[in-house]
């Protein structure tokens, strides 16, 4: 930073002195003219020029070089040192050269410079119009190719007439090439009147004529703004340019208006309006035709309690972190996004639909306590046939992919359709503790586009999450029982109901109508360390009472030293208390003469009681 960032006040100083020393007739006063100095950096900073490095860049990347200069005739050049990837000083080289007082550049048609580099490279961004403020008239070239020879480069001014008080003289941003840094030099940086830039072509929306169905209240920013000139070498040079260069027009302001900055607002309808633009009097390629259907019909407002909802996309809830709402999965996905906001309600809008995925992988969603997926969808274009809309849920760690397909009657286009799909209906989805993706598929090529809103998992079970009644009272005579956990029998002394095996499960004991019940909250796995090794060869069964509303996986293990362990799968969720007597032969090859531990594995919240071996 040091001297480079120091403000050059010299010019301003001269200017003030001049004004003070003059006596002027006030009637002669005209609007102050801005200086027209074309020079940015010839052999040094031009008067009034400042430099500031961009945040996150290497602050010292730019310096003045008196050794390597254009044709070695120039006294100094601008040197830019691009860092290696991983450089602790910053990830890239980037900064802006700007003046405190604007300059009148309307008499020029290009910013030109000579450049060379220590190796062939493509400079990510190079341009002008960045004043570290509004940067209203920014224009950039992306990926400018430089090599080890000095060459002259030309950045056309898209519309010089607009640049009557420009402060952004030059800026750049360049990261490592293939992970490695290098150096490039720029010299003789100046605005020029070339007169040999020809055939201007400008574009909005990347030159495409787009048509969109829309509603009152929708706003959308026109993007894809570019300006192309034929250089004196006969080849075309394209720039990405700021919206302020364009004059936007709506063919029907009672349907849609467009602001100076290219923000389209739908204000009326039904009806249509075509948004077009010109730059410097030249019509731009590309247009946006808004076909307004009038007032937007919002999706039904969700009413479920937030504590029973995990929201992916909804303005009614706080969404969990989502990686993206459109993964643009190449090469087969055609689906694009044209999301919009209407009356402060965000709507996902998928166009050119074949399939599209939403990902929420960091972190994944544990939906074991959820019962349903909700989503509201709307087909804005008429359906010509009944649509088969497929939804897939993907569980990342294990559990695979589950699919559910619903048929939407052709008559239900242009209205919101609310889907509430039981998670158990997703065929093939065996686990849902690590849900990471929702994928929508046009299963019979019938849907061109759709809106989506209020995508969330929820717990819709009408049954309570805890048993209201205690487990059934055991009836086996105490003499026939070796008990691990029960109010009805004496348990094996010193049994540890919550040994620390690194599990996530929260173990508590709750009283249900005075009956002590073991609760496993958020089960992943959970052990029980018997107070002493047990010989249960004289027993016939393991007895258990268990209750769960939200588990879809639960197993119980008996363990002998080794460890030798065998699982028995329990059917969940339960309706009320389930009582099982599992034959001990099912646990072979566990050594039944030396049983030391029990273990549960699965998910959800589990209530357990009357765990004992019996004859």
């Amino acid at each position: 930073m040091k001297t480079n960032i120091a403000v050059r006040h010299l010019f301003i100083g001269f200017f003030s002195l001049f004004l003070l020393s003059c006596e002027r007739d006030l009637s002669d006063l005209k609007p102050a003219a801005y200086p027209t100095n074309p020079e940015v950096f010839i052999d040094a900073f031009s008067p009034g020029l400042n430099y500031a490095a961009f945040g996150g860049s290497v602050p010292t990347a730019f310096d003045v070089d008196t050794e390597v200069t254009y044709k070695n005739t120039s006294l100094a050049s601008m040197r830019f040192e691009v860092p290696d990837a991983g450089d602790p000083r910053g990830a890239y080289a980037g900064g802006a050269f700007f003046t405190s007082v604007g300059r009148d550049l309307s008499g020029y048609d290009a910013l030109t410079f000579w450049a060379k580099a220590s190796q062939a490279a493509n400079i990510d961004i190079i341009g002008f119009g960045n004043d570290l403020g509004a940067s209203k008239y920014q224009a950039i070239i992306s990926g400018l190719a430089v090599n080890t020879n000095w060459q002259k480069y030309i950045i056309p001014l898209p519309d010089p007439a607009k640049l009557t008080a420009e402060r952004g003289m030059f800026f750049y941003s360049e990261g490592p090439e293939n992970g490695r840094g290098y150096t490039f030099w720029i010299d003789e940086l100046t605005f020029e009147k070339l007169g040999t830039l020809a055939h201007p072509q400008h574009a909005i929306l990347n030159g495409e004529d787009q048509v969109e169905t829309s509603f009152i209240g929708v706003s959308k920013t026109i993007g894809g703004l570019s300006s192309t000139f034929n250089l004196p070498t006969g080849i075309n040079q394209s720039l990405n340019v700021a919206p302020a260069y364009f004059t936007f027009t709506s063919s029907n302001e009672s349907v849609a208006t467009v602001s100076e900055s290219g923000v389209v607002r739908v204000v009326g309808g039904p009806g249509s309006a075509k948004i077009t633009a010109t730059l410097g009097g030249v019509p731009a390629k590309g247009s946006l035709t808004i076909q307004s259907l009038g007032n937007f019909q919002s999706a039904p407002i969700p009413t479920r309690s937030p504590d029973k909802v995990i929201s992916i996309f909804s303005d009614a809830y706080n969404d969990v972190p989502v990686d993206y709402y459109n993964g643009f999965w190449q090469p087969f996905q055609t689906t694009l996004s044209a999301d919009f906001t209407v009356n402060n309600d965000r709507i996902l809008h998928y166009t050119d639909f074949n399939f599209v995925g939403i990902q929420f992988s960091s972190p994944t969603i544990n939906a074991t306590s959820m019962t349903h997926l909700h989503l509201d969808i709307y087909f804005p274009n008429p359906l010509t046939t009944n649509a088969r809309f497929k939804i897939e849920l993907v569980n990342f760690v294990s559990g695979g992919t589950g699919a559910f397909t619903t048929t939407i009657p052709a008559t239900q286009s242009q209205q919101w359709i609310s889907l509430d799909i039981p998670l158990s209906s997703f065929a093939g989805l065996s686990g849902r503790a690590n849900l990471a993706q929702i994928i929508f598929v046009d299963d019979n090529n019938s849907i061109s586009s759709f809106y989506a809103d209020n995508i969330y998992f929820y717990n819709g079970s009408s049954s309570p999450l805890a048993p209201t009644n205690p487990a059934p009272l055991p009836t086996h005579p105490a003499a026939n029982v070796i008990s691990v956990f029960s109010d009805s029998y004496a348990a094996i002394p010193s049994t540890d109901l919550n040994p620390n095996w690194g599990q996530a499960t929260v173990v508590t004991q709750v009283g249900i109508q005075g009956n002590n019940t073991l609760r496993y909250g958020g089960l992943n796995y959970q052990g029980i360390q018997l107070g002493s090794p047990q010989n249960i060869t004289g027993m016939g069964f393991l007895h258990l009472d268990f209750w769960t509303a939200n588990s879809n996986a639960l197993s119980v293990y008996i363990i002998s030293p080794g460890p030798v362990e065998t699982a028995s799968v329990l059917t969940v969720p339960t309706s009320g208390w389930s009582s099982v007597d599992i034959p001990l032969s099912a646990f072979a090859p566990v050594n039944l003469s030396n049983v030391i531990q029990l273990k549960f594995e699965g998910n959800g919240d589990i209530y357990l009681d009357n765990i004992y071996f019996r004859r």
């Binding site: 007169g195 040999t196 034929n230 006969g234």
Partner: protein, 272 residues
Amino acid sequence: MKLNIIYLFAIASLVAASWGCNPDNFQKLDQRNWELVWSDEFNGAAGQVPDATKWTYDIGTGDNGWGNQELQVYTDKPENVAMDGQGNLVITALRTGSSFTSARIKTQDLFGQQYGRFEARLKTPYGPGLWPAFWMLGANIETVSWPQCGEIDIMELRGQEPHIIHGSIHGPGYSAGNAITKGYSLSKARFDTDYNLFAIEWDRDKIDFFVNDFLYQRIARSDVPGEWVYDQPFFIIFNVAVGGTFVGFPTPSTPFPQRMTIDYVRVYQKAN
């Protein structure tokens, strides 16, 4: 740059040789009295092909790309050569993948003239590898072949230098790379953005080359290192070549389609 220097040198030498030291003086040419004898104003309807009583075509790729390793295939299709309905003939070079089509029209066997003023008002195409030309060949080319027949290039341009045109003559002993040639460069302007008038004035002693009636080159009979073969009728040719030895090859970033837009071509004789 090099051609600019050549041009400046040319003025200097012309000035020194002929008219003294003030550059303005050498443009004080003798009064001429021209009489229009042949023209095509190209005022047909859009899509109309050139007048068959005035123009014929070269078709195909010639021999070795018309002797110059040119890439284009010449056709007589309206997509390559037709009126634009606004008073112009447009020759369009098209790219399809890596192949190119264009057009080359000529007055051979339909019209030719010895001496006089030949002029055309036109806008050139542009871009690396584009090579438009307004030129003439000696009518005896079928019997004596090139370069013995003589060639007068009234306007040639390299698309990568759209601000420079060249005027040249080719004859026996001074053809191709050894042609007598001179460039004329516009300052802060280009030949592809506006119409310019390209002309020669030719008599038994000399050929004068003009851009917008500015004389930038005079080739006198005595300047030619070989035989002076310009005492017979010549016919007119317009074409847009793509690639070739004069211009180099088009690059992937050369914009296509490219058009030469000809407002008119007129031929005069000296009136008595």
